[in-house]
């Protein structure tokens, strides 16, 4: 089993260029970057992948112990870097993958040149003197949502080829990737994502980082983004006009422009 196959690694752009590694967040797969990565494929070696358990990854490689903490996912990122011989990596992580990138960069600082963190949160559950935005009961509610939507999942996400009649394979691609979310894996990933606490890992990062904060992001509210910026030693904060938690989908132009501006400095 190669790491490429395990994590469904997909590459674009010149293979000898500086690598840009895109990591998707909880709930979806690498398609989350579909409107963003093409803007970098001229000048970067774009590397996309699915976390094990998501999208086109090898579900057989899922190991409850390995993926019982974000460290297992960070180890996967490092293994991808190792197998593809990626150096001076620009790591772009959405949502929970921001913290996965933080853990990877803290473990192997020499591997990474920049971190781009889109909607990061080092802890989702409120704590004394810290507002993450969620209570434990909220997370239990999410697990119930995942459970009650397990049966409907495959039929619910029917392929929609509307708007892409010339590319029927797109619908197929989406159906397959989104339906392959194994409910038990999703539940464990939800627990690991929303119950982890990586606040102490932030100061360990030596890599230059960009914190991209959306307006009205219910998953990672602005005070959380400011917290990440304050604790990450070499970080900049970009407040986006984009609203919600997925600017990579809802506001790709602003997302691309913000990342490009950061990489140009």
């Amino acid at each position: 089993m190669t790491v490429r196959r395990r994590n469904n690694v997909v590459e674009h752009g010149p293979p000898d260029a500086q690598p840009m590694l895109f990591a998707h967040g909880f709930g979806c797969d690498q398609h989350m970057w579909r409107h963003v990565w093409p803007a970098f494929a001229d000048t970067y070696r774009v590397v996309l992948f699915d976390h094990v358990g998501a999208g086109g990854s090898d579900l057989g490689a899922y190991d409850r112990r390995r993926y019982d903490s974000l460290k297992g996912y960070a180890d996967d990122v490092l293994e991808i870097c190792g197998e593809l011989r990626l150096e001076r990596v620009v790591f772009v992580g959405h949502s929970v993958s921001s913290m996965i990138g933080v853990l990877a960069a803290a473990a192997e600082p020499e591997r990474f040149e920049r971190l781009v963190l889109v909607g990061p949160s080092p802890r989702y559950v409120d704590d004394e003197g810290y507002t993450g935005g969620f209570s434990r009961e909220d997370i239990e509610g999410l697990l119930e949502s995942l459970e009650s939507n397990y049966l409907g999942w495959s039929s619910a996400m029917a392929p929609v080829i509307a708007g892409n009649p010339e590319r029927p394979e797109l619908g197929e691609e989406l159906t397959n990737s989104f339906c392959r979310t194994d409910p038990e894996i999703a539940a464990q990933f939800a627990r690991v994502t929303f119950l982890s606490d990586n606040r102490e890992d932030l100061p360990r990062v030596r890599t230059r980082a960009l914190v991209m904060q959306c307006a009205n992001d219910a998953i990672a509210p602005e005070p959380v983004g400011r917290f990440v910026h304050a604790r990450l030693p070499h970080s900049e904060l970009a407040l986006l006009e984009a609203t919600g938690h997925c600017p990579n989908l809802s506001h790709p132009e602003e997302t691309v422009a913000t990342i490009k501006a950061f990489l140009a400095t």
Partner: protein, 377 residues
């Protein structure tokens, strides 16, 4: 339309306002721009509380709110449609209303997505029904587990010359119990002990019941026959005549505490391992035959193997869950088992059992795993 139907059904407004489901239109970020009367009546919200003031996510229970932002919203942006998602709508009075929602994205003339139209169906009855089904399923699962526990209960033989240890891990995933069992009982108190580990095909209450029958049958029949081979023949006959436990695999062994002689027979079952404290562990590959009632016929005679164990030796009987793992060949599974046993051969049985279960049993596997260790003292 003609006659009396015309005035009502001709107005699109009435069709919208009094549709048999709630309608909510939102901007792409979820901000509500329009709701219909049905939604108002059903949730107790007035449109002035919602329109321009709240997002659809804000009137979902917290779990659904996260689900919306991590699943529904991205899906809508990627495939312009979601269907039949279960959520709970927060009513104005704080109550929760189970609902099924479906949404489509509408784009403007330039193809830019502008608005999300969501229909909201009352799913209270459906959700209750689903919960009843789930409860019934869990109840059945509990019965099966209880049945299995009670069937595996009972004391194991204890003796100064013999140490026994068992480990049993029910299937981790899925709801059903499997049909693995272990057993150890005296053939002659203090002298000869019978050791059995088996695996009934199938899952659930049926498999647990079949396991109980075969376990009892093996105890009863062992007293009437001479050795593991004849015991398998008798069980074969039993399985065929009573139509129970067809294709069950098992290993029967008989250990003489005075002579240290081990006789064993495997019906389609993984081989026992002999664990000599001063030598490498060894798979015992003799005495092999087909699973019970494999061809709707009694196999006679059933092959038997024999081995004189060294003093202080142990023997390990187990089910396939310990050596079979996805993405690994059976040979690799056996190699790992031998390696682990080798590393641990001087440890107390309790620690060997716990260690084997921890390192070899696949935490993700749907199969149950059963292990029986017996050591001469």
């Amino acid at each position: 339309m003609t006659g009396d139907d015309a005035p009502l059904e001709d107005t699109a407004e009435d069709l919208f306002e009094h549709a048999p489901c709630g309608y909510v239109s939102t901007r792409m970020d979820g901000t509500i721009v329009k709701v219909n009367r049905t939604f108002e009546q059903w949730t107790g919200w007035r449109r002035e509380d919602l329109v321009g003031a709240r997002r659809l996510q804000d009137v979902l229970a917290p779990g659904g709110r996260i689900y919306y932002d991590t699943h529904i919203a991205p899906l809508l942006m990627m495939q312009q449609e979601v269907r039949g998602i279960a959520v709970e709508v927060l009513r104005a009075d704080g109550g929760r209303a189970p609902a099924l929602i479906s949404s489509v994205v509408r784009a403007d003339a330039d193809g830019r997505p502008r608005v999300i139209r969501t229909s909201v169906f009352d799913a209270s009855d459906r959700r209750r029904y689903e919960q009843e089904l789930l409860r019934a399923r869990r109840h059945e699962q509990e019965i099966a587990q209880e049945l299995q526990r009670s069937l595996l209960a009972g004391e194991l033989p204890a003796d100064d010359a013999l140490e026994l240890e068992v480990a049993y891990r029910p299937a981790v995933r899925g709801l059903d119990v499997g049909g693995d069992w272990y057993d150890a009982f005296w053939l002659r108190e203090g002298e000869r002990v019978a050791l059995v580990v088996g695996d009934v095909v199938g899952r659930g209450i049926g498999a647990a019941a079949a396991m109980g029958q075969l376990r009892s049958a093996s105890r009863a029949l062992a007293a009437t026959v001479a050795g593991p081979g004849p015991l398998l023949e008798a069980l074969d006959e039993y399985a065929r005549r009573h139509r129970v436990g067809r294709m069950t695999t098992l290993v029967c062994a008989e250990l003489d505490l005075r002579t240290r002689e081990l006789r064993y027979a495997c019906a389609g079952h993984p081989p026992p391992v002999a664990l000599d404290p001063r030598a490498e562990p060894e798979l015992l590959w003799e005495g092999r035959s087909l699973p019970l009632d494999a061809h709707h016929a009694v196999i006679r005679p059933r092959a038997e193997g024999e081995r004189r164990l060294a003093a202080g030796s142990a023997v390990a009987l187990y089910t396939d869950g310990l050596v079979e793992r996805r993405r690994r060949t059976l040979d690799e599974g056996f190699d790992r088992l031998l390696l682990e046993l080798d590393r641990r051969r001087e440890e107390p049985l309790e620690r060997i059992a716990a260690g084997l279960m921890r390192t070899l049993a696949d935490p993700d596997d749907a199969d149950d795993v059963c292990l029986l260790l017996a050591r001469l003292r």
